[in-house]
């Protein structure tokens, strides 16, 4: 057989098209995603008439632009016009809250449409988890506007229950497909959403019985989700898998980006959210850092499954911090500290940083090698000392500052290194050991 024959055989492999219905469904999902996340340039165009934008230069190279205008295109034009009208309604509905006219469009059309395109159990579970988060964001928004009526509250609680049930169902399916890691990811995301929103609703409950009721409803869901998560973590810990190390490594990268994002949000939120919110977020980022460090320690000991769970927990805390900060921006809690108070706050933090670091070290060392119950103990004790520890990590002045920016730079370097798909094992080990060194110099 010569090369030409081989090429001939290869050409017999035809491209596999999508079914028309599959193609249309994904198109609709894409279209609603575009409406929900419009390009800044596209927004201006919608508002200011049909002006050309530099954004469109990106499309100049595409062949489909050179097609000739035909009668068919006029029909397409009409269809597109209709879609734009529908699309605008759907886009406007995206921000609707319970009790508002477009809310039904949001829940019954937008969300159903986007949900119809989640095919795998993981995609379905993630979709449901994001809907649960949306319901809770709505509760926060309504409550902040003083519009959380008993009816709206009941509606939100019922929907929350449904979404959480659906997540759990799909998580079970994932587990039965032997994808406990995928299951953990979704379950952990849901737990972080519930936890963070519980905190926010609880802080609102002094002014509203309804908010207190939502907080209680969230706690109820959370206990079920936590049970499921605990079982999954156990399952992953016991698992014998050939690629545990790769999985743990991948998770470590995700954990680092999650922490950096949370840290960026935290920095950007200074002055625009209340001191309570900052301190809550601070505690969580500190916990995330502790788990990140635990994760590296576990990796160093070859306990890759444990490392995976540590990193996933770090992601969970980072996400909680971000949700709390985002919700805090929408809330104008009376009696918050003004930005000018922050200077003093920071300097106190700096002066106590060294002592707290010691506390953190002792907590971390007790947890090492301990099991689940010990791990949650770190969470709580880290919580009590968190604000100063975190300031010591990232924003305190003095020697810590040098070390912290070094850690920061290390994480960032490592992120760019791993984003090129192939990372060599030795570079990875170097980076990890550097990061561990710098973490220990910071008092871990």
């Amino acid at each position: 057989m010569n090369s030409n024959e081989v090429e001939h055989i290869l050409h017999t492999l035809q491209p596999v098209p999508m079914a028309a219905e599959e193609k249309a469904r994904i198109r609709a999902a894409l279209s609603s995603h575009i409406d929900a996340h419009p390009a800044p340039a596209a927004d201006e165009r919608r508002a200011g008439g049909l002006l050309a934008s530099p954004f469109m230069s990106e499309f100049k190279n595409l062949t489909f632009l050179s097609r000739k205008m035909t009668a068919m295109h006029m029909f397409e034009g009409l269809a597109v016009a209709l879609l734009i009208v529908l699309g605008s309604v759907s886009a406007a509905a995206q921000g609707a809250l319970p009790g508002e006219p477009l809310y039904a469009v949001k829940v019954n059309i937008n969300e159903q449409v986007s949900g119809a395109f989640a095919f795998s159990p993981q995609a379905k579970a993630q979709h449901e988890a994001s809907l649960a988060a949306t319901r809770l964001d709505e509760a926060v928004d309504l409550s902040a506007q003083g519009k959380l009526t008993p009816q709206a509250r009941a509606q939100i609680e019922a929907n929350l229950q449904t979404h959480v049930d659906n997540v759990e169902k799909n998580v079970d399916k994932l587990t039965s497909q032997d994808d406990a890691r995928g299951a953990i990811e979704v379950s952990s995301d849901l737990a972080s959403t519930l936890n963070a929103h519980e905190q926010v609703m609880q802080s609102l409950s002094s002014g509203s019985d309804e908010a207190g009721s939502v907080a209680a409803a969230i706690r109820l869901q959370l206990s079920g989700v936590s049970d499921q998560l605990g079982m999954l973590e156990q399952q992953v810990t016991d698992e014998v898998s050939i690629d545990s190390e790769d999985q743990a490594h991948m998770k470590s990268g995700q954990a680092e980006s999650a922490i950096l994002s949370a840290k960026d949000d935290y920095a950007a939120a200074q002055g625009s959210v209340s001191a309570e919110v900052l301190s809550d977020a601070n505690q969580r980022i500190t916990s995330a850092l502790n788990y990140l460090s635990d994760g590296y320690a576990s990796m160093g000991n070859g306990a890759f499954n444990k490392a995976f769970i540590n990193f996933q927990t770090a992601i969970r805390y980072s996400k909680e911090a971000r949700v709390i900060i985002a919700a805090g921006k929408n809330l104008n809690i009376p009696g918050t500290t003004t930005p000018s108070d922050d200077g003093e706050g920071t300097s106190t933090a700096t002066s106590t940083a060294s002592t707290t670091d010691e506390t953190a070290t002792s907590t971390a060392s007790t947890t090492e090698g301990a099991d689940g119950s010990g791990t949650s103990a770190t969470g709580t004790s880290a919580t009590s000392t968190a604000s100063t520890t975190f300031e010591g990590f990232f924003s305190a002045s003095g020697t810590e500052n040098v070390a912290s920016s070094a850690a920061d730079a290390l994480i960032r370097n490592k992120l760019s290194a791993t984003s090129t798909a192939d990372f060599s094992r030795s570079t990875r080990q170097d980076i990890i050991s550097n990061l561990l060194k710098s973490a220990s110099s910071l008092g871990f």
Partner: protein, 172 residues
């Protein structure tokens, strides 16, 4: 043409979807051998690409860019799936026995090609699929996988030689 200037970025992106989604899907399908997963990957590819552009970033040539995004998502997919890690995939070849894959290839020649493809290393299979099924040029493939046009041609040539041996071995 005037018509072009009045089209919104949104419509253009959806048109790009209409034109390019089938070949993207096909590529994902041959790589992962699972229809549902390939559908998810296709959707995710377009969503990610839109988000990239919505953040104001420039894309020179959309088609190779989409394949690059899809390629990264496929690698992520394998990293996530413990039972199908990239390593096992490379060792064992992709799942030619999958019902989906068997159904779409009717000719016996095609079945042999599919089997031989399954026995190729992932990095060879990727370029062969792009060259012969997706009909991308070596230059475009180079853009996607971050290699020079020359390196791509060499890799394709090696793939053909490997396939030649594999097909000889399974002489039919």
């Amino acid at each position: 043409m005037k018509q072009h200037e009045t089209d919104t970025a949104r419509d253009k992106f959806l048109k790009a979807y209409d034109e390019l989604s089938d070949s993207l899907f096909s590529h994902c399908f041959y790589r992962v051998s699972d229809r549902e997963v390939a559908l998810d990957l296709t959707q995710e590819t377009f969503v990610k690409t839109w988000e990239y552009m919505a953040n104001g970033k420039e894309i020179g040539n959309l088609r190779p860019f989409l394949f690059k995004v899809a390629g990264n998502l496929i690698i992520d997919h394998y990293r996530k799936k413990k039972s199908d890690s990239l390593d096992t995939l490379q060792e064992a070849g992709f799942d030619v026995a999958s019902e989906d894959a068997q159904r779409i290839v009717s000719s016996s020649e095609g079945k042999h090609a599919l089997e031989a493809l399954g026995a190729l290393d992932e990095k060879y299979r990727q370029v062969v699929l792009m060259r012969y099924v997706d009909e991308l040029s070596p230059r475009e493939i180079g853009e996607i996988i971050g290699e020079s046009e020359n390196a791509v041609s060499v890799r394709i040539n090696r793939s053909i030689n490997k396939l030649k041996e594999l097909l000889k071995f399974n002489q039919y």
